[in-house]
């Protein structure tokens, strides 16, 4: 019919006559073709939607499937029916009716809980059972991450019927409801009433261990989990409230928590009893969180904490193991970290001073990069020919323990042939008038720096009785001489080794 209309149109338009003449043959051919094939509708066959699966959206398909109709009702109840009718692409893990009936009551106790429960079954974009990876980590609408393993397992549920596709995504039918788990931090929060260690960690919501904590807390956003460092433990150790990572956390029961803190307490002496306790607890708990979830059967003999403390696990006793959404918590009835490994050696790098007794000697201050006779490269500092008696370089030492320290240095005297002397002092303050060191509580003796000595040299010991809030001032002081070559300073590093009382 359309063709006739065209022909009429052409007839009454003489300027187009030429083109009609030219195309006459093709037109004839076209007519013939049309005559041959007009019985069927090839384009309709080709482009039409004939797959009945694709006429339904996810919400309709799940509700109409007799296996998952109960979950379909839950979708409608929580409002997810409208979400799953949208034209985005989703993946739904729909539990069977039997599985839904078996879900623990608390998971569906309130409207809020139901919503979270449903959200934990729905993810944006399509995840089919066919994937190149054996494990796909899927972020659900609940913000929890679930592991989709080998295309046939999600968390601890088996996929019964995979890859049912619909117009806006696909759904897998699973044999178990995916009740959303708490994360490690939510678990700790729930334990706070009965567990001392949990209670202490909650205290760190308000208490700032270091000045930087308050900045992180001020920037924390309610509702955010990944980057919101609302607790001092998150800032300084790991953010156990972060769903995107996995952690292993050892929670001590009350008895062993007391045992551990009591052992450390003498080394954490502060002005007030309260702050001694709070820092003792921190230095005990900071070594108990580890990155990555480690399954019980894979726990090694020793774990090394973020701070370098070796935590021995051979003698430890696990009372309970709780799988959580972002890792695993082991409740320990015994986990003893001996002081030998708990107390860390502090190393101060010579090339990282925070100040000098006077600031006009930059031209005499050499930040060097050298190699020792074995060819190992080291960075150090040297101040030479400055003409200032008792020129001083200042360093900070933080996180020291209240105990006696043995002090070693590695000081390289390689461009002079003479031996010179320098000394190290601890504590005191920098004079605001002339930048000199005032009233250090411990002053080690002037010690020779022999030429071309690349070994560590023991230079004495000092005892720290009580800790203040600030880092300890450590000073490296030149000889009391204005003579070049005699008042040289050099330092690769200082090593402060704590002694067990």
């Amino acid at each position: 019919m359309a063709l006739f209309t065209n022909k009429n149109l052409l007839n009454i338009n003489p300027t187009r006559m030429i083109s009609i003449k030219l195309n006459k043959h093709y037109l004839g051919l076209g007519l013939l073709l049309l005559g041959l094939v007009s019985c069927s509708e090839p384009w309709e066959d080709h482009a039409g939607v004939n797959d009945s699966n694709l006429t339904l959206n996810l919400n309709e398909a799940i509700s109409q499937n007799s296996q998952t109709s109960e979950f379909g009702k839950l979708l409608a109840e929580t409002g997810y029916d409208r979400i799953l009718a949208a034209s985005k692409t989703y993946t739904v893990f729909a539990p069977t009716n039997e599985a839904l009936a078996a879900v623990d009551a608390p998971a569906l106790s309130s409207a809020q809980a139901k919503k979270l429960f449903v959200a934990n079954h729905v993810a944006l974009t399509a995840f089919t059972s066919v994937s190149q990876q054996d494990t796909v980590s899927i972020e659900m609408y609940s913000n929890k991450y679930l592991q989709f393993i080998d295309g046939n397992r999600i968390a601890d549920a088996q996929v019964v019927d995979a890859d049912n596709y619909t117009s806006n995504g696909l759904y897998h039918i699973i044999d178990k409801g995916l009740a959303p788990r708490r994360n490690i931090w939510e678990f700790i929060k729930d334990q706070a009433a009965t567990n001392d260690m949990s209670a202490y960690l909650m205290e760190l919501n308000a208490f700032n261990l270091y000045p930087r904590d308050s900045v992180a807390k001020a920037n924390a956003m309610p509702g955010m989990q990944a980057d919101s460092l609302s607790n001092s433990y998150f800032t300084n150790v790991y953010n156990l409230n972060n769903e995107k990572n996995k952690y292993t956390f050892f929670l001590l029961d009350n008895e062993s928590f007391t045992e551990e803190t009591d052992r450390l307490k003498p080394y954490m002496n502060r002005v007030s009893e309260d702050s001694t306790t709070i820092y003792t607890n921190y230095f005990t708990t900071r070594d108990l969180a580890f990155h990555k979830a480690i399954a019980r059967e894979n726990l090694p003999d020793t774990l090394v904490s973020k701070f370098g403390v070796k935590v021995p696990l051979t003698e430890a006793t696990i009372a309970e193991e709780i799988q959580l959404s972002n890792g695993v918590v082991y409740v320990m009835s015994k986990l003893e970290v001996p002081l030998e490994t708990r107390l860390l050696t502090t190393t101060i790098q010579g090339e990282n001073p925070f100040g000098f007794s006077q600031s006009d000697k930059r031209a005499n201050t050499f930040y060097r990069e050298k190699a020792d006779p074995q060819g190992d490269v080291f960075f150090d500092i040297m101040v030479q020919n400055h003409r200032v008696p008792r020129f001083t370089i200042y360093y900070n030492a933080s996180n020291l323990y209240t105990t006696t320290y043995q002090v070693y240095w590695r000081a390289i005297n390689d461009i002079q042939s003479n031996t010179f002397q320098q000394r190290v002092s601890f504590g005191g303050f920098i004079s605001p008038t002339d930048g000199s060191l005032q009233q250090p509580f411990a002053e080690l003796p002037y010690t020779n720096v022999e030429p071309n000595t690349y070994e560590e040299v023991y230079i004495g010991e000092f005892t720290l009785d009580q800790k203040g809030r600030d880092a300890l001032l450590v000073s490296l002081q030149a000889a009391n001489s204005a003579t070049d070559g005699v008042n040289t300073l050099t330092l690769d590093y200082l090593k402060l080794v704590p002694v067990i009382k």
Binding site: T15, F366, M382
Partner: protein
């Protein structure tokens, strides 16, 4: 309305047809023969010396399109440059010596396009001279320039393809070059002989005279160093021919460029690899602020002082003491600078990087202040930017000296570095070393003539600090006050002296050991300037020892954990496998 238009159009057609007939009948052919305004006809070129100059500039413009290929073929195939995560399979094939016929970097056509241009220039220069369109002097200078440029291109072809057709006349169809019946391919040794014979025939081998119409200031550039240095080329050819005395003679001619100058700094500094100016740091040496040599933060690391500045500074007095041949890329003119894209990881594709082997070479050196590396490596030749090792020599004009981010993405000025004094000294030393002058070679490589020939404690320098050899091995480096001497070579500080590294030790046979030192020094000093592959091939040929080349490529690939390292070494132990396939496709 349409009807009317139809008739009108037809009417017009008739009128046009009529006009056409009328025109074709009438004999005024010139009427339609309009000359294009943006193209030249053959009778509009080669009319006078200025046309000849324009043709030369045109050929050099064409020549600059070889820049990227030159650097890639000579460096990526050798051991100092490696591929990155962004490199395409054809680059990886270059690096792994698995080049197939369809690899675009292996296509020799670009080289022959330049040769074709040169041949056309040379033929027309002959015609111009015959028709007296320019003088004999003008002819000599221009003919030898383009002739030398063609020779340079052939030398590159020989290095990379082994046997190539040697064509010296313009040809109708460039694709015929592939036809071995028309243009037989001659082996490398024969090619070198041809090139020596041709180039030695020049009656003019100096740079263009300063009053030449080609030596001008244009768009802020002085053109004097745009043109190939014929004496350097002659030295290179003789060095490839193992004709050491001749090579030394030609190199020495260039080294003495400043000798006749009345200007002291020109006389003492030009191409003599001058020692460091420790007080002012206004030099081309690796140096530190004075009395702060122990402070790594006091390294002279900016675009106007020290070793780095030779790649960054304008064509000023100091630049002219080092650079012999260098062509600028300017963002305002074609051709486009290819090196930003090749090297930069900001505003570029970061296609190549320093190999681990090159990095290790620099790290194995010791500076004279005890620092366990060569600053020419990680401080200057490459930097770590954003976690990537980035080759820096070509990027100093593109990246901000402090922030190391592009100053302006569209400001892509740069240079094609082709010849400089350090390379000249190393090549001269290579010839001298093989010509029984190892002591001179070792002196130029390390701390200079004066340091080698002086006698400690002697104030009267009359009879010391000089070589007492005839040309080309005559050096006088005397600097004394009683009596006073300031000889031509007294400021020569040696390559390693200028680079502030400890001397290279001679172990075992001194000739072989010094030659090894010279080639390694070329790696440290000239990395990524397009010399490495040629150096390896030349020494491997001279010693008839393919392992000299194969071992180094093996070490590069092995250091990267490339599983092919062993098989590549086996392959390169056969000389035929050093060469690229000589093929190109019609449509390219």
């Amino acid at each position: 309305m349409p009807m009317k238009t139809f008739i009108l159009t037809n009417k017009k057609k008739f009128i046009l047809a009529g006009l056409a007939i009328a025109l074709s009948v009438s004999s005024c052919q010139e009427y339609l023969d309009v000359e294009p305004q943006d193209k030249l006809n053959s009778d509009q070129v080669y009319r006078d010396v200025f046309d000849a100059d324009a043709a030369i500039i045109g050929t050099y413009g064409k020549f600059m399109q070889l820049a990227e290929k030159y650097v890639l073929l000579n460096e990526l195939r050798a051991d100092l440059m490696a591929t990155t995560r962004n490199s395409d399979p054809e680059m990886i094939a270059l690096s792994e010596h698995a080049v197939t016929a369809d690899n675009r970097y292996a296509n020799p056509k670009d080289f022959y396009e330049v040769i074709q241009n040169c041949n056309d220039n040379l033929k027309n220069f002959d015609i111009m001279l015959a028709e007296k369109k320019f003088t004999q002097t003008e002819y000599n200078q221009r003919y030898s320039d383009i002739g030398a440029l063609r020779t340079w291109v052939y030398l590159q072809l020989g290095i990379h393809y082994g046997s190539v057709p040697y064509i010296t006349e313009p040809i109708e169809n460039l694709d015929d070059v592939r036809d071995t019946a028309l243009y037989p391919r001659i082996p490398f040794e024969e090619l070198i002989d041809e090139l020596v014979a041709f180039t030695e025939g020049f009656s003019y081998t100096s740079p263009y005279s300063t009053d030449s119409s080609l030596v001008i200031n244009v768009d802020g550039y002085n053109t004097a160093k745009f043109f190939i240095n014929k004496e350097c080329l002659l030295g290179d050819l003789h060095l490839w021919d193992n004709n050491y005395t001749q090579a030394a003679i030609h190199y020495k001619n260039v080294m003495e460029t400043g000798t006749m100058s009345g200007n002291d700094s020109e006389r003492f500094d030009t191409y003599r690899v001058k020692f460091a100016e420790v007080a002012t740091n206004n030099d081309l040496a690796v140096g530190y602020l004075r009395f702060r040599e122990q402070d790594r933060l006091a390294l002279i690391d900016n675009n106007s002082q020290g070793w780095r500045s030779m790649f960054a500074r304008d064509r000023d007095v100091l630049w002219n003491t080092e650079w012999i041949w260098s062509l600028p890329f300017d963002s305002n003119f074609a051709p486009k600078n290819p090196f930003i894209n090749l090297f930069s990881n900001q505003g570029g594709d970061y296609l190549v990087k320093p190999s681990q082997r090159a990095i290790d070479l620099w790290e194995d050196q010791t500076q004279r202040n005890g620092f366990p590396y060569d600053a020419r490596g990680k401080r200057f030749s490459y930097n770590v930017i954003g976690g990537d090792e980035v080759i820096m020599k070509y990027l100093y004009k593109f990246l901000d000296p402090v922030t190391q981010t592009p100053i302006d993405l569209f400001q892509t000025d740069g240079e094609w570095f082709l010849y400089r004094a350090a390379k000249l000294h190393l090549r001269y030393a290579e010839a001298a070393n093989r010509d029984n002058q190892s002591r001179i070679a070792d002196a130029l490589l390390n701390f200079g003539i004066q340091s080698e020939y002086t006698v400690p404690g002697v104030t009267d320098k009359t009879d010391i600090e000089q070589t007492f050899e005839p040309f080309p091995y005559n050096f006088d480096a005397r600097a004394g006050d009683f009596p006073r001497f300031r000889a031509d070579w007294h400021r020569n500080g040696g390559i390693r002296g200028r680079a502030y590294v400890e001397r290279a030790e001679v172990v075992g046979d001194s000739v072989i050991s010094i030659e090894n030192n010279l080639i390694e020094e070329a790696a440290l000093e000239l990395a990524y300037e397009g010399n490495r592959w040629g150096d390896l091939v030349r020494i491997a040929l001279r010693r008839n020892d393919p392992s000299f080349l194969a071992d180094r490529i093996y070490e590069k690939l092995n250091a990267e954990g490339n599983a092919q390292a062993g098989s590549v070494r086996t392959k390169l132990m056969v000389r035929e496998n050093w060469y690229l396939p000589f093929v190109w496709n019609e449509e390219e």
